[in-house]
Subunit: 605 residues, 2 copies
């Protein structure tokens, strides 16, 4: 092991060189080791003779979506994990904070985990560490300096940082042994510094995983990106499989150079007569660093706003990745102390998030930034699918304030950190792998990546498009998709709850969002066998009760009718509850064509 | 009046020639005539001397969004209305079916309405007729044949069709007098047949409204689109104002020709070895008609699926706008009677709507269409902003079924019905208006349209970018924006309710969607001054109660504590309700970091 531990706990530094040890699981067929809830899946598959010496590649997340990236590499009794990311919720998951990978497969195998490698510091690659590191018994974490600093910060906020066993990968030249697997690293260009890809070597073959990647064929400084070196991992005895992040696979051409974007941004900052407000992702650490340098060059001050951005820049500054004069960055509260043409605000909220900085600026609710017609506002970011309409609303508000608003639609002010079709072709040409597996994107993008790769003449039977939970078993005769499949579900994080939100809870949220709900409370005097007083009705999100007194009164009468006559002293509550649900539900639908959730309550006195 | 009434009621055919009549309102200053709820706005403005002879242009909707298009043209005591569209809800309007224009301005002025002109048959232009025609006292409707047929169908479904006073505009050469205004028509190219624009003439000037428009510079048949004729409406005595739909104003270039798209689709249909399934909007009547012709040419059968599409095609066929052999179109249940390479399915659901045809096909829930690997599935449609993520999910499902899936990202299989930047420049050059008003789009798109027009050398002070409710007052000295503003709110349609959903109801829906709700029921024996039994707790969308018994028990204890001790016989319910809301809300937040809506109920026995 050539890397040094950067974290506070050096006692664990031998962990990565721990020799291969047999555990009680060793030698059992793979299907026996599947977690309980996978039994059904396993039973369905054909008889399967597991190769105990196979190199297994198992994506727990990121193989059917952009997010919750996490891949298990398993060889004999050693497990290496790449990335532990989160995913932001879909529209049909109201109230959910985020989703983390389903790690049931690792239950009982915690002691086999030789290390967790994190490719870079974005949340879809590190965001689940606070949940999964404790759950997996705090395995050693290997990552670059910036990535580790970001992980540490995240754990600090969860008051968990003292448990972290961190090992810094100081350069791509380092080599790591995780049990019987050897890991090499290589630098990749992405939108955050210190990103790397990994090569995981076993006697059967090597997996080359790009992490998130792009080419910069016309970089602002330094040499062009080149992955030709990676070709060396492919040879007849140990062929390589390229695991290629494929987010840009439907987009033609090469990703545009950061140089072009930075030239545009440089000109904007230089020429701005008024203030310039640049909104981007809090995770675009590299761009924010460059923007600070540009501002400094033109003698302008920079005010950062947005929690994640400030935190990330503080981290990057602390470890020396971003440098600027101490007077360049000012507090957002100080911007009015300077001439407008000396002020650059860099902030978050370009996705139109409700309470994020740019939305507060747009709605006039920002304490320090009131938009003036001479301001220039730049959306230096892409649109995350699903946010389009929210961003339109945000743009409407900003245009209305009279500022000059610039965004991707009207100027090149953003280059994404992901490769496009021509980049993919170039990569295949440079790396020359035997096998290919598109990863880290929606299924349809993986299939489109396959098409792009096929267009280079790559053989179709050497391409693996698999799902979360599918296992590549790579024996001495090459890799194949196992008939076994590990069950993968969404693990929702909502407030303090992890995995406690079920489909039932989400369905209820959706129902109440659609048509609201009404609680019907009937109080029964069991001795007299009759209703006491009027039934209580409480409704939210259904109708505005104050303006619908007649409907309320009719509903109340309906409820009374359900309980008319002498009631049995031993009341069958379920019978009456069903009756309320059905009859009141139908009645309200007939009257309104809405289907509120009807919640009957019977109180027996 | 040269147009003939096409509808069943000829008794009203004199309506459009009704002479100018003074009403009790005539001569009063405009501010006096504002509806009650606008008073606040009116008071705020500076003293305003209304020109009673001004030509007023007042957008009630469509000026800040794509949708709910409706514009009032008012001259003296005559009102002409253009379009009555609906708008689909935003993300923060859960459960809402759609939104219609706010017509409070027209209250009390119904008798002045000389006619409603509908530019074409899309829902954002005609979708509110069932609500607004009755509300406005069934004014006469002027539209082309197809548009009228679609309006009639919509009214039929609402059982309102007998009230319709319909006048068909048979050709763009017709001329109409609506009170003191004269209306001319002109053909526009859009994605539905029978679309037209209008010229509304008054002595002060003429408004040229494009409706929805595009150029087709390389049409599949017929001459190129040309709007040079419209230049005649501009002259020093009667200048023209061009009201230009601006949805494509951020997109460079010309809208692509339908020819190119149809060549691609033709080739796909011709070459398909298996079935071909083409999904598009139900409103793309023209394209569906062309696709049927193509299928017929290659001896293939067409099955249509999707309610709106089938209805629209039936209407278009009935009036002779779409022609095909009676054997060409088969029922969707018959597709298995034909060889796969003889079947073309055209359906709705390309936006990923939950229960629409394509989603049912993708999820295997369609009764007659099961996707096979040899099928070709084409998304012949654009992505409506906000639907991106849903469409990704839909694509994932379809790719997973192994079919060849084609969409805009990978092939030109759709051309939108809207003009792009170069089209806008060409339009300005051809129409040569004195004034310009971008319309029918989000505010930021109107501002971008302004930029495009400015780039042609058009003077900035002759461009009007206004909001819903703003009034253009066009006196003899030219148009200006009135200081008066008509209040415009969202009028929500939800089930049978129109306008009864308030912000309160929507906020409640959002709250419950986010963190669910909990009902706390305390039953009090007022004589004894104490709680009866355990408080009842009912929760939905908050936690899965079965798995959180401990939290429920703790909550119950908290409630009991609130009611501990001897209670006053005259219980202050509000005091206790507040206490429950605050203390239980805080307790649950501490335990879960979720904020369910807490609904306290106190039942006194």
């Amino acid at each position: 092991m050539e890397n040094k531990q950067s974290g506070p706990r050096r006692t664990q530094s031998t962990r990565s060189t721990r020799p291969y040890r047999r555990t009680s699981h060793a030698g059992k067929p793979a299907t026996d080791r599947a977690p309980d809830r996978s039994q059904k899946t396993v039973e369905k598959t054909t008889a399967h003779k597991a190769d105990v010496n196979a190199f297994k590649i198992l994506p727990l997340g990121g193989q059917e979506e952009g997010g919750r990236n996490m891949t298990v590499f398993e060889y004999k009794n050693d497990i290496a994990i790449l990335d532990m990311g989160l995913m932001f919720p879909e529209e049909n998951m109201p109230g959910i904070d985020y989703i983390i990978p389903d790690t049931r497969y690792l239950k009982g195998k915690e002691k086999n985990i030789r290390g967790v490698i994190l490719s870079h510091g974005h949340l879809d690659h590190i965001g689940a560490v606070t949940h999964l590191l404790p759950k997996l018994g705090w395995p050693a974490v290997y990552a670059s300096k910036l990535t580790l600093a970001m992980v540490r910060k995240r754990l600090e906020e969860a008051k968990l940082e003292t448990n972290l066993k961190a090992f810094e990968i100081k350069s791509a030249k380092e080599k790591l042994r995780l049990g019987s697997m050897t890991i090499n690293f290589f630098d990749v260009t992405h939108s955050i510094m210190d990103s790397f890809g990994v090569v995981i070597q076993t006697p059967n073959g090597s997996a080359i995983h790009m992490g998130d990647w792009r080419y910069d064929l016309d970089p602002a400084e330094g040499p062009k990106t080149d992955f030709s070196e990676l070709a060396k991992w492919n040879n007849p005895k140990r062929p390589s499989m390229l695991m290629m992040e494929s987010l840009g696979s439907t987009k033609p051409g090469h990703q545009k150079s950061t140089k072009e974007v930075m030239i545009n941004l440089d000109k904007l900052v230089k020429d701005a007569n008024g203030r310039i407000i640049i909104a981007t992702f809090g995770s675009m650490v590299e761009r924010v660093g460059q923007l600070i340098s540009i501002a400094e060059k033109y003698g302008k001050k920079v005010a950062l706003d947005g929690y994640s951005m400030k935190m990330n820049i503080e981290i990057a500054k602390k470890i020396g990745y971003i440098k600027f004069n101490k007077n360049t960055v000012i507090d957002i509260s100080q911007i009015s102390d300077y001439a407008d043409n000396k002020v650059v605000v860099i902030c978050t909220g370009a996705q139109g998030e409700d309470r994020a900085v740019l939305m507060r600026i747009a709605t006039g609710q920002h304490r320090h930034v009131k938009v003036m017609p001479k301001d220039t506002i730049v959306f230096s970011s892409s649109v995350i699918p699903g946010n389009e309409r929210t961003i339109q609303t945000l743009k409407d508000k900003l245009y209305r304030l009279g500022a000059n608003v610039l965004h991707q639609e009207v100027m090149d002010v953003h280059a994404s950190g992901h490769a496009l079709q021509e980049d993919i072709k170039l990569l295949i040409k440079q790396v020359k792998p035997t096998y290919l597996m598109p990863v880290y994107a929606n299924h349809y993008l993986l299939k489109e990546a396959e098409k792009v790769v096929l267009s280079t003449g790559f053989p179709k039977d050497k391409i693996f498009v698999i799902d979360n939970g599918n296992i590549i078993e790579w024996g001495s005769d090459g890799p194949k998709i196992s008939s076994e499949k590990v069950p993968i579900e969404y693990v929702y994080v909502d407030g303090l709850g992890v995995g406690d939100i079920s489909h039932v809870v989400l369905r209820d949220r959706q129902m109440m969002a659609g048509d609201g709900m009404i609680v019907v409370i009937a109080t029964i005097d069991t001795k007299k066998g009759q209703l006491i007083n009027n039934p209580d009705l409480i409704s939210r999100g259904f109708i505005y009760m104050k303006e619908n007194k007649k409907l309320i009164e009719q509903t109340r009468r309906k409820v009374k009718k359900i309980f008319s006559g002498k009631l049995d002293s031993n009341l069958d509550e379920n019978y009456y509850k069903d009756k309320i649900r059905n009859e009141i539900g139908q009645f309200l639908y007939n009257k309104t064509q809405r289907r509120p959730m009807v919640l009957p309550v019977i109180i027996s006195i």
